[in-house]
C-alpha cells in the first residue's frame, strides 16, 4: 500500500458527502412530484420498441449513470434479424 493510499484510507467521509449530494439531488425531484426523467425515458423507449417488435427481455441492457451535472441513459437492444422472426409484437 503506498503512502498516499494510507493517508486517504481513513477519510472516507468526504466520499460519503459527495455521493449523498448527487443521490439526493435526484431523489428530491422525484418526491417533489415530477417524475424522474431518466426513468421515464427508459420506460417510454422500451414501450416504443415493444410496439414494433418482440424483444426478449434478456436482450435489453439498460445502463443508467447519474452524475452531479450530467446523467446518461444507455439502452442496448439486441434486435432480432428477419430470419429469426422480426414481427410486430402480439
Amino acid at each position: 500500500m503506498n503512502i498516499f493510499k494510507f493517508l486517504n484510507r481513513r477519510t472516507s467521509a468526504p466520499v460519503a458527502r459527495e455521493r449523498l449530494q448527487v443521490l439526493l439531488a435526484h431523489e428530491r425531484t422525484i418526491v417533489g412530484g415530477q417524475d424522474d426523467l431518466v426513468a421515464t425515458l427508459r420506460e417510454e423507449i422500451l414501450a416504443v420498441i415493444a410496439k414494433h417488435m418482440a424483444v426478449e427481455h434478456d436482450n435489453v441492457q439498460i445502463k443508467m449513470d447519474r452524475g452531479a451535472s450530467v446523467s446518461t441513459l444507455e439502452v442496448d437492444i439486441e434486435i432480432p434479424t428477419a430470419k429469426t422472426g422480426m414481427r410486430p409484437a402480439a
Binding site: 481513513r10 477519510t11 460519503a16 458527502r17 449523498l20 431523489e27 428530491r28
Partner: protein, 268 residues
C-alpha cells in the same frame, strides 16, 4: 396551546424511541404536561424504554376501536407525574390504525397535554405516515451515516407533502437531532461531520447526542437517559434539545466557537 411533535427518521435503529423517551421526560422535567405515544403497532418498545412494560393494560388500538377510554390506556410515569405513555398494541397489526381514529385520539390528547410526542415506526408506511400526519413539529433523528441521511431526506420530503399542515399550505417545523455522534471519529474524517449533515439536509439543528454508554444503560434499566443518568453528556444534550424545543436559545454544552455557530445556523 398543545403541540404535536413527531420523532421520525425513516431508517430503523437510529434512536427514535430513545429520543422520544428522553425528550418526553426532559420536557416533563421542565413541568410541561407530556404524552408520549408509540405508533409502532406490532413492535412496541417505548413502554420498555420508559420502564412501563409491566403496566400496559390498554393501548392505542384499544382506544381507537373504542374498547377503552383514553384515560384508561394512558400510563402515568412513576417518576414524573406530568409524563404519560400511550403504548402501541403488540398483538394487533397496523391496519387497525385508522386515519379518523388517530385524528380523534390526537385531538383528545391536545386537550390534556402541552406536548404530544409521537414515536414513529421505521419505514414510510401507514404507521409512519399516521405518526407524522398531525404534527406541528418534527424531530428528524439521523446518524452520521449515508443510509440514515438518505432516509431522513426522504422523510423530510414527506413532512413537506403528506402532513395535515403541508396540505393546508402550512409547514411542519423541522429539526435535526444528530444521534450516536462521535466527535473524535468525525475529526479523523471517518464519519460525516455535523456540518456535512446540515449542509445536505438543510434543516436547523436541535441537538447532537454523543455516542454514549449511558444511553444503553438507560435502556437496560428502563429509564429515559435524562432521568436515569441526568448528569451524563447524552442527558444534558437531550435536556438542552428539549429547552430549544420550548423556544429557548441555548448554547451547546461544549463552549467551542464552531459548535455554537452550528446551532445558530438556519436552514439554507
Amino acid at each position: 396551546m398543545a403541540k404535536v411533535l413527531v420523532v421520525t427518521s425513516g431508517k430503523g435503529g437510529v434512536g427514535k424511541t430513545t429520543s422520544t423517551a428522553a425528550l418526553g421526560a426532559a420536557l416533563a422535567q421542565n413541568n410541561q404536561k407530556v404524552a408520549v405515544v408509540d405508533f409502532d403497532v406490532g413492535l412496541r418498545n417505548l413502554d420498555l424504554i420508559m420502564g412501563a412494560e409491566q403496566r400496559v393494560v390498554f393501548d392505542l388500538i384499544n382506544v381507537i376501536k373504542g374498547d377503552a377510554k383514553l384515560s384508561q390506556a394512558l400510563i402515568r410515569d412513576k417518576r414524573i407525574d406530568t409524563l404519560s405513555l400511550l403504548p402501541a398494541s403488540q398483538t394487533r397489526d397496523k391496519d387497525n390504525l385508522t386515519e379518523e381514529g388517530v385524528a380523534r385520539v390526537i385531538s383528545e390528547l391536545r386537550e390534556q397535554f402541552d406536548w404530544i410526542i409521537c414515536d414513529s415506526p421505521a419505514g414510510i408506511e401507514r404507521g409512519a405516515t399516521l405518526a407524522m400526519r398531525h404534527a406541528d413539529v418534527a424531530v428528524v433523528v439521523t446518524n452520521p451515516e449515508v443510509s440514515s441521511i438518505r432516509d431522513s431526506d426522504r422523510i423530510i420530503g414527506l413532512l413537506d407533502a403528506k402532513t395535515e399542515k403541508a396540505e393546508q399550505g402550512d409547514r411542519v417545523e423541522k429539526h435535526l437531532l444528530l444521534t450516536r455522534y462521535d466527535t473524535a471519529r468525525a475529526q479523523r474524517g471517518e464519519i460525516l461531520k455535523v456540518d456535512d449533515v446540515l449542509d445536505i439536509l438543510s434543516i436547523p439543528l436541535l441537538g447532537i447526542i454523543p455516542e454514549s454508554p449511558d444511553v444503553l444503560r438507560a435502556s437496560n434499566i428502563g429509564a429515559p437517559v435524562t432521568l436515569g443518568s441526568p448528569n451524563s453528556v447524552a442527558a444534558r444534550a437531550y435536556l438542552d434539545a428539549a429547552r430549544r424545543l420550548s423556544g429557548e436559545v441555548i448554547a451547546p454544552q461544549e463552549k467551542r466557537g464552531l459548535l455554537s455557530k452550528l446551532f445558530t445556523r438556519r436552514a439554507a
